[in-house]
Symmetry: C2
Subunit: 143 residues, 2 copies
């Protein structure tokens, strides 16, 4: 039996690790996918698709061809985690009806204001969001 079904996806985990790796470099010199993938033990091809996503969403720049690679576009302290999480993992809320950016009404629930689950998950979303909104890439680096 696999226990962790609804965990953080590997996509997000690897994406964060790659961003942290780049942030540690301290320069905006392009780093090749294979360098990151070997250093962080990530499948090269999988990481490739992740970095592509991050680039398309404005978190990374890239240089093509020989001596190409990826680099951060901003100072790590100016890169907040919340938008990264939304791109890689999707909504931060555990339930669509409490999502700020991806709101959807529940099919089964006639009234959100009296729904126990709704109000509980609202609190959870707030506390999680506070972390992701206030923390930057620079804040999570360790040496």
């Amino acid at each position: 039996m696999v226990i962790f079904e609804n965990m953080l996806s590997k996509k997000t985990k690897y994406g964060l690790k790659a961003l942290a790796y780049l942030a540690k470099q301290g320069s905006n010199h392009p780093v090749q996918i294979s360098v990151i993938s070997e250093s962080e033990n990530i499948s090269r091809k999988f990481l490739e698709s992740i970095l592509l996503t991050l680039r398309k969403n404005g978190f990374l720049g890239s240089k093509k061809g020989k001596t190409g690679g990826y680099y951060l576009l901003k100072d790590p302290k100016d890169i907040k985690l919340a938008p990264i999480m939304r791109i890689l993992e999707g909504p931060i809320a555990m339930v669509p009806c409490v999502s700020l950016n991806f709101y959807e009404k529940c099919d089964d629930c006639p009234d959100e204001t009296t729904c126990s689950v709704h109000n509980l998950m609202l609190e959870v979303r707030d506390s999680t969001l506070q972390i992701f909104n206030n923390k930057s890439l620079a804040d999570i680096l360790k040496d």
Copy 2:
């Protein structure tokens, strides 16, 4: 494209709603599955399996046969949410390496203490857990 992949499962959502329904009754008189499923707009068969799980894990009592049903075993204010979440949803942590009850080492990560993701998810787990540990079934009821 379906956005909410890693949301709260319907199992958990329905389970919480059912528990809240029973808590609102205020008595320990057995309530039939079909009564709850109709009131809360939940598939009867699906709810059946959820309530069975909750019973097997000590959160509900049941009465079999005609006039049977399910009932709470404790006062709603003495039923904390954390254990319920663990039974229905699984680990509260988003990553096995920060789970208190379901710990697992990551394959890729050589050192947890220097892992950016690890330390970030530790904070998220703490803030979520604080909510689930401190809130009881009684606390999430609305009228």
